[in-house]
Amino acid sequence: MAVATTITASGTDEGRNVTRLSASALMGPATAIVALGLLIPILILFRYSLNQYSARGLMIDAVTAENYVKFFVDPYYRTVLYTTVRVAFICTVACLVLGFPLAYVLARTRSRFKNLMIMLIVLPMFVNNAVRAAGWMTLFGSKGMINTGLMSFGIITQPIEMMYTETAVIIGLVAINLPVMVLTLQSVIEGIDHSLEEAALSLGAGPWIMFRRVLWPMALPGILAGTILTFILAVNAYATPVLLGGPKFMMMAPLVYEQFQLNNWPFGAAVAFVLMATTLILTAITNFWMQRRYRR
């Protein structure tokens, strides 16, 4: 018996080792592709960010932090970073506020049109960002649908300047990111037992208390995933800020593009790294803070 037990145990260990080996073999190619396709270009870009720009040679090999210093010393670039984070934050909050009720309804509905409703939410994602921005342009223009409508009803006499404003960018980004938030939240809310909400309500909790004490904490993984995804998409947005924000409005991704357009690869690479670091740090802080705040 003892021998048999030993053999079984030994066999189990071997089996685990074989399973681990198979798992490693399966993960290997994908990991190698990610490592080669993502990490190596990032490392090259980081190396470029330490080089110097010269109008004659374009990029001179060096090891200097001057591109990063230039970014943080110049108020213009700091303002661009601040604007980017502010717009992404507003966009994320707006998506959460607008998306949660929608996701809740979708998760709880028993309607036979549920799949159709989900398709309607996903539908805007079938259209390219630039095309969607072009659609907004026809609405926001001085002779666009909104201004023409308001003027024909006599509500305004002069067109409202909507194009090339921060508000236009926020509206455009919310429209793009809302489906991401809704779909993420919906899948998590569907996993929450509805009887828990009913129990809270039947025990005397009002809808707000039930939401705050039961639904919100239980939906937190989805909220966290949705906000992080939305924030990352908004902070790195390119087409919407360029097309709806216009020349006077600048966010980080268009700034990176502009530097490469000027052939200033070292500074462009440094701006790209500041953007990447900002995204990672803010995401990590949010993750850490929310998990700590709502840990039970």
Binding site: G57, L58, M59, V242, P247, K248, L262
Partner: protein
């Protein structure tokens, strides 16, 4: 048993035959014809311009002469960055690149482009001397003129009249044309193309007066169409195209001399097929190709032997005197100061 895709069980011979066929198919696009002179890889931005290149240069001259031509289509920035990235390699991936004169200067100075050897071009004798640049051959040109809506405003006679603060928010300028706008402002203030400083005060006055800044040429066209703005600075060739598209615009050549915008072709230093590149440059300078581009794009030809009908000449809108008075940019100055100019434009003018 019915044979389905999933139940298909090929023999070893079938697998080997399949692999061989796939290998041949994959290699076909790269294989030059046995009677071919070789392959020329041409970098362009695509679109209508690409079609004209195919029509007048590739199909019109190069293919009948036995060359295989492959298009490498990407926007200007992507192509420039790719060339810079490839510059350290012994062999690049393109033979000729369609760029503007300012890009030639910047890329040539950085050692990315080869200096043009005009003795290798049989059509160089016909090329206008002003279109012979060290790192590129001019294939067409236009100029930055005053573009205005004749229903709303009288024809401006000069850059000074265009860049007048009295126009307020009816004046539209284009963000991506900052080098031209800053140089035009300098000329308006009596300065030169060699220093844009004199124009900065005027631009700040325009900013106070509410000048509109459009991100692209197309956005400016939209502004003119909706009468949001009534004048600005734009390429004369665009005036012709927009008028054809139904926008009520006219172009006025400024008395200071209109700033020239030159498009053309350059050869990367590490072009794999330099002979092919020169064959392309020569084909581009052929009389029918030049006449075709002038007709379709509204760009005056860059060779002396091209014949332009009087009505086409009128459509292009430059008299002989105006053509002679066109002003070329100081590419060395702009290249050296480009980052500083853009900084000023972003922070002081737009900011």
């Amino acid at each position: 048993m019915e044979k389905t895709f999933l139940s298909f069980n090929p023999s070893r011979r079938q697998v080997l035959q399949g692999v061989a066929a796939a290998g041949i198919a994959a290699g076909l696009p790269f294989a030059a014809r046995a009677d071919s002179k070789g392959r020329i890889v041409v970098g362009t931005s695509g679109g209508d311009y690409q079609h004209l290149v195919d029509q007048f240069i590739v199909d019109g001259v190069l293919k009948p002469a036995g060359w295989d031509v492959v298009d490498a289509v990407a926007n200007d920035l992507d192509r420039r960055n790719k060339m810079i990235a490839e510059a350290r390699l012994p062999r690049g991936t393109t033979d000729v690149q369609g760029l503007s004169a300012l890009a030639w200067f910047q890329m040539g100075q950085a050692g990315v482009l080869a200096e043009i050897d005009y003795s290798r071009l049989k059509n160089a004798a016909n090329l206008l001397p002003s279109m012979k640049y060290p790192y590129g051959v001019g294939s067409g040109y236009t100029a930055a003129v005053g573009l205005y809506n004749p229903k709303l405003i009288e024809a401006p006679k000069s850059y000074k009249e265009i860049l007048d603060p009295k126009h307020g928010d009816k004046l539209g300028l284009i963000d991506i044309q900052y080098q031209y706008v800053m140089t035009a402002a300098s000329l308006a203030m009596g300065g030169t193309v060699h220093d844009v400083e004199p124009g900065k005060a005027l631009l700040l006055e325009l900013r106070k007066a509410g000048v509109r800044i459009y991100p692209t040429n197309e956005a400016f066209a939209q502004g003119l169409k909706t009468e949001e703005c009534s004048l600005g600075i734009m390429w004369k060739a665009r005036a012709v195209q927009w008028k054809d598209a139904g926008i009520n615009v006219a172009g006025a050549v400024p008395s200071e001399g209109a700033l020239k915008f030159v498009l053309g072709w350059s050869v990367p230093k590490n072009a794999p097929n330099a002979d092919g590149a020169y064959a392309f440059l020569d084909a581009m300078l052929e009389k029918p190709a030049q006449e075709g581009f002038a007709t379709k794009l509204g760009y005056p030809p860059t060779v002396t032997n091209a014949e332009i009908a009087p009505e086409l000449n009128e459509r292009m809108g430059f008299s002989k005197e105006q053509l002679a008075a066109l002003v070329d940019l100081d590419y060395a100055y702009l290249s050296e100061n480009d980052i500083a100019l853009r900084d000023w434009w972003n922070k002081s003018f737009k900011g």
